[in-house]
């Protein structure tokens, strides 16, 4: 993709920007629209009700209606609010959660940037969101949002450590940081995926499986916390802090926060799918090379990538409507007393196994 744009535009930087920004407009925005509706539909069916059915056939245009409503809503800025920070916060949160997509390989033929430091870049960018949330909490000059912001900052920062550790153990095994190579390593059949021990062979593979599963569980929980979802949605806990850091926002800024949250949700599930479930690799060979049509494979890979991503998004929604919410100190205790020690032990054992 990058080289195709290169010969169209001819200039280095321009093509780099376009190829990195392409997934944002082509895929993520429509995904966010669908995800908002999907969340309301899934939660409705789980609670024996129908969800939105008024707007459009069986409620499909509901999100479009929401976006239009938010467009024409008045953008209120609280009087004593700190204007600059107040306006800057949503932009930062939006940028942070969308920049992650630059490094995720969508399909064999397409990856935003062939960055060699792929995974490392993703972890770094996702902590940009923290600054945005803190700004939002502080700027709206309201006790509840301040509490919400401080909570969410402590939550996201402390949950980055287990994520980083598990990614470290994986990268140590795979030997490369580049997401594209990582996915190519898990080629062909699903037992080559990292969750089943990755491309290693023989005794090493069998030994690795339990620790890879533990690693997957840890990273899934901690990425959940990083996105403020399900049992960890304390920053915007409706019943305590009204709506956490985005209480005072309305109109377009609130829409941005909303989209950022859903984009983050997909980003996180895409990362987990890519790292452990073989990104765009299909579990049992491609129809493309069965029929000999070479050009079908990238499309098929894209389909597999979306299916896996959506499955994890569905699991997040499913968790949200089943489990109650954790308290802040329990959240911290879970992270520091359980996830991080397990992640360390996991790291060491995988290291030993990879030496055999």
């Amino acid at each position: 993709m990058y080289d195709i744009i290169l010969n169209i535009t001819g200039s280095e930087i321009l093509s780099m920007i376009i190829s990195a920004a392409l997934p944002l407009f082509l895929f993520i925005l429509p995904f966010a629209l669908v995800a908002v509706l999907a969340e309301r539909k899934v939660s409705a069916f789980m609670q024996d009700r129908l969800g939105p059915t008024r707007v459009g056939p069986k409620g499909t245009l509901q999100t479009v209606a929401d976006i239009l409503k938010l467009f024409q809503k008045e953008d209120i800025i609280p009087s004593e609010a700190d204007k600059k920070l107040f306006n800057l916060a949503p932009i930062l949160v939006f940028a942070g959660s969308f920049a992650v997509f630059a490094a995720i390989p969508f399909s064999g033929a397409y990856i935003g940037t062939m960055a060699d430091v792929g995974v490392f870049y993703i972890i770094a960018i996702s902590s940009l969101v923290v600054a945005g949330i803190l700004m939002a909490g502080w700027a709206s000059n309201n006790k509840y949002s301040l509490l919400g912001a401080v909570r969410s900052v402590s939550q996201i920062i402390s949950y980055e450590i287990p994520t980083a550790l598990v990614i470290l153990s994986l990268v140590m095994l795979a030997g490369t940081l580049n997401m594209y190579d990582l996915t190519n390593m898990q080629t062909e059949y699903f037992w080559n995926w990292f969750i089943f021990g990755g491309p290693a062979t023989g005794i090493q593979k069998i030994l690795l499986i339990p620790f890879m599963v533990v690693g997957f569980v840890i990273i899934y929980i901690s990425t959940l916390a990083e996105v403020n979802r399900t049992p960890f949605d304390i920053p915007e806990a409706e019943s305590e802090l009204v709506a956490g850091y985005h209480t005072e926002y309305s109109g377009m800024k609130f829409a941005i926060f909303f989209l950022a949250e859903y984009a983050n949700m997909f980003a996180v599930s895409a990362i987990v799918a890519t790292l452990f479930f073989g990104g765009f690799q299909s579990p049992f060979g491609y129809i493309g090379n069965l029929l000999g049509a070479e050009w079908m494979i990238p499309i098929e890979q894209f389909l597999w990538f979306t299916v896996k991503g959506l499955f994890f998004v569905f699991v997040q929604m499913w968790l949200r409507w089943t489990l109650p919410r954790l308290r802040v100190d329990q959240l911290m205790a879970l992270c520091w007393k359980y996830l991080i020690p397990y992640a360390f032990v996991n790291l060491i054992i995988i290291g030993i196994i990879s030496l055999i």
Binding site: K143, P231, E240, V242, L323, P324, R325, R327, V328, Q330
Partner: protein, 371 residues
């Protein structure tokens, strides 16, 4: 140099998603830890007692509905039996049975709301909606007999306004068989859920002697291990004919008398009430429900205090009558008013999100607190 920290006063104001009505809790916080809670009430004060002095005895009944609007059948029950005791009216058997059935169904409906909102405050949204779906069935039962869904004015002094609907008994039996498996489903979904238990066990512990001294009653008192239930120890109406056991807290999931116990008391009590309704349906005699309703209600001079086991605790009516058509003074002992005093005692040293869990577990209704 020590960091200068001063206490932040956070107003969990009248408009707050989890204050069960219009209540302002002034929390004094240092960081997230609570150092003091002062509840401010009176936002929903509709001067019930001043109204009573201008109304005749039967006209007060619609006002008692509006006190604890989630258990209004039981408010009527309390007021009506108090006046009957004052006037010495004997109520026919059938009316006694109808009142017990209606009272216990109202207890189940009120506990459903209590458990649902308690779970909702802690974040579990789905059980709240399952419970409300079942509560609709009870409300349609009430609507079938007396026409209203929430504020009934069904029980009158000396009888009830309408006799039971012909197929009321059949539908109630269906409801009982339908609802019993749902309770176990609710338990698996919420009561034994690891996160729910962690959020409510050892939170807001209420020792037994403090509970008695504060005049706590009902499920909140029994959760602290004291086996005291008006229906068993001071059986009014015909509660002594039914065998049901009174659930008492054992501190299964943490210390005795914590939020989880108070929550679990209500789940067990729902099952007991189902048993009572089942037995009452089986034994209900026939008869006329309007026979004992006196034409002119003028109780003799005197004062009486009569108490009933309301889903939220002990609801007492202190009626002073000077022999005229209008009550001279009606004072109500609302259980929520008394359990709200404990907020300061219970919430010390907990976090902000615990205040919400504790408030949900003592289950107050502001209509009753402010009267």
């Amino acid at each position: 140099m020590a960091i200068k920290t001063e206490e932040m006063v956070l107003n969990m104001g009248p408009q707050h998603p989890s204050t069960h009505g219009v209540l302002r809790l002034e929390l004094k916080l240092s960081g997230e830890l609570i150092t003091g809670v002062t509840p401010h009430i009176g936002y929903l004060h509709r001067c019930f007692e001043k109204h009573c002095e201008a109304m005749t005895y039967p006209q007060v009944i619609p006002y008692t509905d509006r006190m604890d609007y989630l258990a209004s059948m039981y408010n009527n029950f309390g007021y009506v039996t108090a006046v009957e005791k004052l006037m010495g009216i004997e109520v026919p058997e059938r009316v006694e049975y109808i009142r017990i059935i209606m009272g216990e169904l109202q207890r189940i409906a009120s506990h459903m709301v209590a458990i649902g909102t308690n779970g909702l405050d802690i974040g579990a949204f789905t059980p709240f909606l399952y419970l409300f779906r079942d509560r609709e069935k009870i409300l349609s039962l009430f609507e079938m007999t007396c026409g209203a869904r929430l504020l009934y004015n069904y029980m009158w002094i000396g009888g009830v306004s309408h006799d039971l609907h012909p197929d009321f008994l059949r539908l109630t039996k269906e409801f009982i068989d339908y609802f019993r498996p749902n309770i176990t489903e609710l338990n698996n979904l919420l009561s034994y859920n690891k996160i729910f238990v962690e959020r409510t066990a050892n939170v807001g512990v209420l020792p037994a002697d403090v509970a008695i001294n504060y005049g706590m009653t009902g499920p909140n008192l029994r959760a602290s291990g004291i086996n005291y239930d008006l229906r068993k120890d001071e059986p009014y109406s015909i509660y002594d004919r039914f065998d049901f056991n009174v659930p008492v807290g054992e501190g299964k999931m943490g210390t005795l008398g914590d939020c989880w116990d108070r929550y679990y008391m209500r789940v067990l009590e729902m099952e007991e009430s189902l048993k009572i309704v089942e037995q009452a349906i089986a034994q209900i005699p026939d008869g006329d429900v309007h026979s004992a309703i006196p034409k002119r209600i003028k109780p003799p001079v005197g004062s009486i205090y009569h108490r009933v086991e309301n889903p939220r605790g002990e609801l007492g009516y202190f009626i002073v009558s000077d022999g005229s058509m209008n009550p001279f003074r009606v004072k109500v002992r609302p259980p929520s008013f008394v359990s709200l005093e404990l907020m300061d005692e219970l919430c010390k040293g907990h976090l902000v999100s615990d205040v919400v869990a504790i408030l949900g577990s003592i289950d107050i209704v502001l209509g009753e607190v402010d009267r």
